[in-house]
Symmetry: C2
Subunit: 621 residues, 2 copies
C-alpha cells in the first residue's frame, strides 16, 4: 500500500531516534514506526543525560554527527562536570534534563528531517526472505518494505511491570507492551533472554522540606555536550541531596516478603551497578545510609525524581519508607516505583555493525541488546542507523575501535562477551580511557563521521580549526621561553618554585600545581608567546596533551601495539604461572578463560593493559 523505504526503524526511544536521524541524514529514506507518537524520545527513568563514562558517549555521538548532544543542550536545566578533582580522563559531563522539552526537541528534530516518515503502530513481525530482511508487519496488518530494518524495542518486548505482589503487562508505566515479535524472532532461530530494571517513585516537590537537604548547584560556568554552537545555560535549577537511614531501611524490610525480586517472581537479571534500594540494603547490610538525589523533572513542574530509591516493593512500603527520609516527612507521592521485566536478545548474535548474524540487513540496537541507559542506547542506535544505511546502499561497514571511542568498547564488549546483566558503561571498561576523553571526542571521531556523510561540513570545519589551533599553540609553547621577572611573582602566588633563569614555557606547564585554569593567565604573562587567538577548547586540549604527554604517548603506543598484535595467537596450554609479573586477578582470569588471541586476552575484564604488555614481551614482541 505505502511506498517502500531504504531503512525502517522500529521504536522511537533513544536508540531509534538516533538510528532514524543518522540513516536519514546520510540520505536513506527512513520510516520510523513507533507505538505512540506522543512518547517519542520519552525518558523512561531519570531525567538526566550523561554522567561518568556516559557523558563521554554523548560527546562521541555528537562528534560523529548524532543528535543526543544537541538535544541534551537544548533541554538541560542543570549542568555539572563530574570528577573535576580527578584527571581529565575522568571528567564526565552530566546534565539534568527537562523531560518534556527533551522529548519535544527530538520530535522537532526528526520532523525537520525530510527523509523521515512516521507511522504510529506496533510492529509484531519482521519479514524475511532467503535470510535477508524485506520489511515489517504491524498490528494493524500493514506491511512495509525496506532494505534494512533496525529494531529498537527497549523494555517493551513482553514487558511486565511489578509493584509488590501486583503484575501489569506493559513496557513502561501506563504504556502497553509489544507482543509477538520475540516469539517470531525465536522462530527464526534467535536466542532470547529476560532482564529487569526498575525506577523510583515520583513525588510532589511541594511536599518536601529542602531545609533538611544539601543543595547541589549546577556548575558556575556550565559546560555542554555538543561541539556545535548550542548555547550554554544562563540559569539553572538545583538538585538536592539527602540520605536514607536505619529507620528507612527497617520500613523497606517490612516489604521484603512481598518483593517481586526476593520472592523470585521476577526472573530477569537486574543491573548490579544500578541496584534497587532494597537490593542495596540487602547486599550492603553494613552501610547505614545511602545517598538520595532529589532531582526536578523540568523547568516548570513540581514533579521530583527520587534518584537512588528505585524499588518494586509494595507502594505502601515505599510510601512509609520515603517518609522516614530527612526532608520527606510530609512527602506526597505521584506514583510508586516499579520494576519492569522484558525480553532481550543476547548481543553475541550480532556483528560489529550491530547487524544480526542470522538475518542480513536486520539490526538490533539499544536495550533490546541487553544494555541499560539512554546513552548506551543512543550510541548503538547511531551505529546501527549508519550501517543500516550503508548496507542499504551496499557500502562498506562502519565501525569504531576500542581505542577510538567508548562506542567501540561498548559494541566490542557486547558482541564478544555478551552480557548477563543489563550492560552499563564504566570508564573501567575502556583500556585506553586516558585517550577516550570527553574533551577530545571531536578530534577522535568527527573526521570519521564526516567521511561517511553524517557529520556536517560545519562540524568538520570547526574540528579542523580546533586541531590547527592546538598545533599552533603547542608549537608556540614548545618554543617560547619565559623570563624569571615575567613570571616569578605569579609563581609565588601559586606556591610553585621560582625560576632562576630564562626557561622553557613547555616544562613549566608540566608542573602539577599549575592547573588548566591558570594557563590563560600564564599565556598573557609570557612576552615570548606569539599573539594567538584561540578558544578555551584549544587551550584545554593543548594543556592536557602537554601535561599528560608521556602518559598519553605510552597509552597510544599500547593501543597501536594491541591493534598490531590483536590476532597473535596464544598457545592454549600456555603456563601463565611462569609469568610472575602478571597481576593476581589477570593471571586467574587468563588461566580460567584461556583466550586464543592477544586481542581476546586484552578484553577479559581483570586483565590489565600491563598484563597484556607482559604477555607480549614474553612472546618476544
Amino acid at each position: 500500500m505505502y511506498s517502500s523505504y531504504d531503512v525502517i526503524v522500529v521504536g522511537a526511544g533513544h536508540a531509534g531516534c538516533e538510528a532514524a536521524s543518522a540513516a536519514a541524514t546520510m540520505g536513506s529514506s527512513v520510516l520510523l514506526i513507533t507505538m505512540n507518537m506522543q512518547t517519542i524520545a520519552q525518558m523512561s527513568c531519570n531525567p538526566a543525560m550523561g554522567g561518568v563514562a556516559k557523558g563521554q558517549i554523548v560527546r562521541e555521538v555528537d562528534a560523529l554527527g548524532g543528535l543526543s548532544g544537541i538535544i541534551s543542550d537544548k533541554s538541560m536545566i542543570q549542568f555539572r562536570m563530574l570528577n573535576r578533582s580527578k584527571g581529565p580522563a575522568m571528567w564526565s559531563p552530566r546534565c539534568q534534563s527537562d523531560r518534556n522539552v527533551f522529548a519535544w526537541e527530538w520530535r522537532k528534530a526528526l520532523e525537520s528531517n525530510r527523509n523521515i516518515d512516521f507511522w504510529q503502530d506496533t510492529v509484531n513481525e519482521v519479514l524475511v526472505k532467503d535470510g535477508r530482511i524485506t520489511g515489517v508487519k504491524t498490528s494493524l496488518g500493514v506491511e512495509f518494505i525496506a532494505k534494512s530494518v533496525v529494531l529498537t524495542n527497549g523494555t517493551f518486548l513482553n514487558g511486565k511491570m511489578f509493584i509488590g505482589e501486583k503484575v501489569f503487562g506493559g513496557g513502561r508505566t501506563a504504556e502497553r507492551s509489544a507482543t509477538g515479535l520475540t516469539e517470531q524472532l525465536i522462530g527464526l532461530g534467535f536466542e532470547s533472554g529476560r532482564m529487569k530494571t526498575g525506577t523510583p517513585p515520583r513525588v510532589d516537590g511541594r511536599s518536601l522540606n529542602y531545609d533538611l537537604m544539601e543543595e547541589q548547584l549546577g556548575d558556575e560556568k556550565p559546560g555542554k555536550f555538543s561541539y556545535t554552537d548550542t548555547p550554554a545555560l544562563t540559569k539553572q535549577r538545583s538538585c538536592w541531596v539527602t540520605y536514607t537511614n536505619q529507620a528507612v531501611h527497617d520500613e523497606l524490610k517490612t516489604g521484603f516478603d512481598k518483593s517481586p525480586m526476593f520472592t523470585g517472581r521476577i526472573k530477569g537479571l537486574g543491573p548490579r551497578y544500578c541496584p534497587s534500594v532494597e537490593d542495596k540494603i540487602n547486599r550492603f547490610a553494613d552501610k547505614d545510609r545511602h545517598q538520595i538525589f532529589v532531582e526536578p523533572e523540568g523547568w516548570d513542574t513540581v514533579e521530583i525524581y527520587v534518584n537512588g530509591f528505585s524499588t518494586s516493593l509494595p507502594e505502601t512500603v515505599q510510601y512509609n519508607a520515603l517518609r522516614k527520609i530527612p526532608g520527606f516527612e510530609n512527602v506526597r507521592m505521584f506514583r510508586p516505583g516499579y520494576a519492569v521485566e522484558y525480553d532481550f536478545f543476547p548481543p553475541t548474535q550480532l556483528k560489529t555493525t550491530l547487524e544480526t548474524q542470522l538475518v542480513h540487513n536486520l539490526f538490533f540496537a539499544g536495550q533490546i541488546n541487553g544494555t541499560t541507559g539512554y546513552e548506551e542506547a543512543a550510541c548503538q542506535g547511531l551505529m546501527a542507523g549508519i550501517n543500516a544505511h550503508r548496507n542499504a546502499y551496499e557500502e562498506a561497514e562502519f565501525t569504531i575501535k576500542r581505542s577510538e571511542g567508548y562506542i567501540g568498547v561498548l559494541i566490542d564488549d557486547l558482541i564478544t562477551k555478551g552480557t548477563e546483566e543489563p550492560y552499563r558503561m564504566f570508564t573501567s571498561r575502556a583500556e585506553y580511557r586516558t585517550l577516550l576523553r570527553q574533551d577530545n571526542a571531536d578530534l577522535r571521531l568527527t573526521e570519521k563521521g564526516y567521511a561517511i556523510g553524517l557529520a556536517s561540513q560545519e562540524r568538520y570545519d570547526t574540528m579542523t580549526a580546533k586541531r590547527a589551533g592546538i598545533a599552533e599553540l603547542t608549537n608556540s609553547i614548545r618554543t617560547a621561553k619565559v623570563k624569571p621577572e615575567e613570571i616569578n611573582s605569579w609563581l609565588e602566588t601559586k606556591g610553585s618554585a621560582l625560576l632562576r633563569e630564562k626557561s622553557s614555557f613547555y616544562t613549566l606547564l608540566k608542573r602539577p600545581e599549575i592547573e588548566q585554569e591558570d594557563v590563560k593567565n600564564l599565556l598573557k604573562l609570557v612576552a615570548d608567546m606569539p599573539e594567538i587567538r584561540v578558544g578555551e577548547e584549544v587551550i584545554e586540549q593543548t594543556v592536557i596533551e602537554i601535561k599528560y604527554e608521556d602518559y598519553l604517548n605510552r597509552e597510544k603506543q599500547n593501543a597501536d601495539k594491541l591493534d598490531k598484535w590483536e590476532n597473535l595467537s596464544i598457545n592454549p596450554t600456555f603456563d601463565y604461572d611462569r609469568l610472575k609479573a602478571l597481576s593476581f586477578e589477570g593471571k586467574e582470569k587468563l588461566k580460567r578463560l584461556r583466550p586464543s588471541t592477544i586481542g581476546q586476552a586484552s578484553r577479559i575484564s581483570g586483565v590489565s593493559p600491563s598484563d597484556v604488555s607482559i604477555l607480549l614481551v614474553y612472546m618476544g614482541r
Copy 2:
C-alpha cells in the same frame, strides 16, 4: 495509608481538570487520580477549542472562574470569531490549539494549586457505605478516602477501538482502557449504555500541496476566550480548506463491507451531528463533496489533523481515499483514524448538581454522561467540582438556569431528557440564545462564581467595572444629542439618511447600517458626549444592548415568565388541537409527550418559546 481528601476527582481530561481546579480553588483538599500523568488534559481528537455554542460555553466557564478559557488563550495558534456576519447571539469564538502546550499549561495550572495532590493509577472501584460515597480503590489496591468523588472517565470505560475489521482494547490511541468500574457501578444499581465516537487520520503536513487548497487565516484582530488579562495572539498559523469528491467517495465505499459501523460490530450510538465521513457519504448520497479542514496540531509540528474525515474504515481504504483529495495526492499518514466505543451512564440518573441520585456525594461529569466535546466536558467538570466541594462542606447546591447560561441548558437537557446519541451543544438547544451571548457571559455569571468563592476578586472587580462602564455609556448615549453638521458627512459615507435637526444619539445607533465597528468613530464625532474612558468591551456590550434592546427585553420577559410558571401544571388530557396557533411540530410533540408542567413543555425539542407563550395565554397567564 495516605491522607483523606475532601474531594477525589477520577480522570484528568477536560472535565476532571476543571473539577479538580474548581473544588481546590474553593478550598477543598483534592486528590486527582488519573491513569497517566503524562496525558493530563490531552485533547483526544481535534486540536481546537470553542466553536458555535461551544465557544459560548468556554466563556461561561471562564466567567465562573474555571480555567479552560485561560488555558485556551495561552495555547492557541489561531483565533476566529465564527458567524460574524450573523447577529451577536451567533458570534462564536473558536481557536486552533497547540496540543502540547494546551496539555502542559493545564498541568502547570493544576500543579500551581497547592490544594491539589496527584496520584497516577486507575480507579476500578468506588467505595460506598449506606448510600454515601466514602472513597475509591485503585488497580494498585490503594484505598483513598474522600467526602465527595467526581468520576470523569471519558471514553475509557471498557473502551474499544475499531479500524476496519480490527479491534483493540483502549480508551484512546495507544492508551489502555479502564475496566471494572462500570461493572461495579451496575452492581450498585446504575444503568449504563454504550456510545461511540471517532477521529480522523493524522497526516504529515510536509506531504501536502497547499497550492490546491484555500487558506483560512485567523482573524485580523484575534480575540480570546478569557475575561482576564491573558494576552491576545500576535502571530497565527493558517488552516486550509479542501473538499472530498466523487473519487474519494468511491474509494471509501470499497471499504464499507469492512466498516465496523455498517457491519454492526460497533453497537454504541455515534454522534449524528459529528458523523464519520463514511456516514456522511452514506446519509447524504446526493452531496457530491464534503468540506475538509486541514488543521495544524501546534506551532512547531508538521502533524496535521484532517477535520471532517473522521473514519473507522480499514487503513488502506483511508489512505487511498485521502490521496484523491485535492492537495493530498502525495499524502503520508502518521496514523489512521479510528472509532472508539465506550460505556456511559444515562444522565437521567443525575441531579441538577451532577450528583448521582443513587449515591450521595458521587458525581459524574463529562463524556461519562453521554456528552461529546471538550467544552461540554469542561463545564460539567466545573459544575461537578463546585458541587462536590459544596457537598463536602455541607453548603447549598449551586446550579445555573437555562436562562442564565448554556451550561444550564446542557445540564437541564441531560438530566431531564437524557440522550440517545453523544450529546453536543448547539445554539438551537437554548431557548434564550439571544441572552446567552459570548460577549456577556461575565455579566451573567461572574457574580455567581464570585459569591461561591470561585471567581477571584480581580475577576469580580473587572466585571463590575465593565458593568459600571456600560451603565455610564448607555446613560450618556441616551442623553446625548447629535447636530447634523457634526455627523452628516460621516453618515453620507455610510449611506445612511442625513439628519435634518439635532437628534438623539440613541436612536441613531439603532440604525442597522451603523455597525458596531463604527461606533467608536461616531463617539468621537459627537460633541455632546461626555468624556468617557471605556474599553472596547464596554462599547460592544452597550451597543448590542441598545441595538437589540426590544428583542432582548422580550426574551428577558419570556424567560422571567417561564421561570415564574415553571411548575404550573398542565392537565394531562389537554386538547392541544384546539390551539390553532401552535406550531405544527410543537403540537405533535406536546400531544405525544404530554408534559405535566409548563417547564417540561418548554424543554421539549420542537416546542418553541412562542408555543409556550400560547399555552400560557390560553391558561390565562
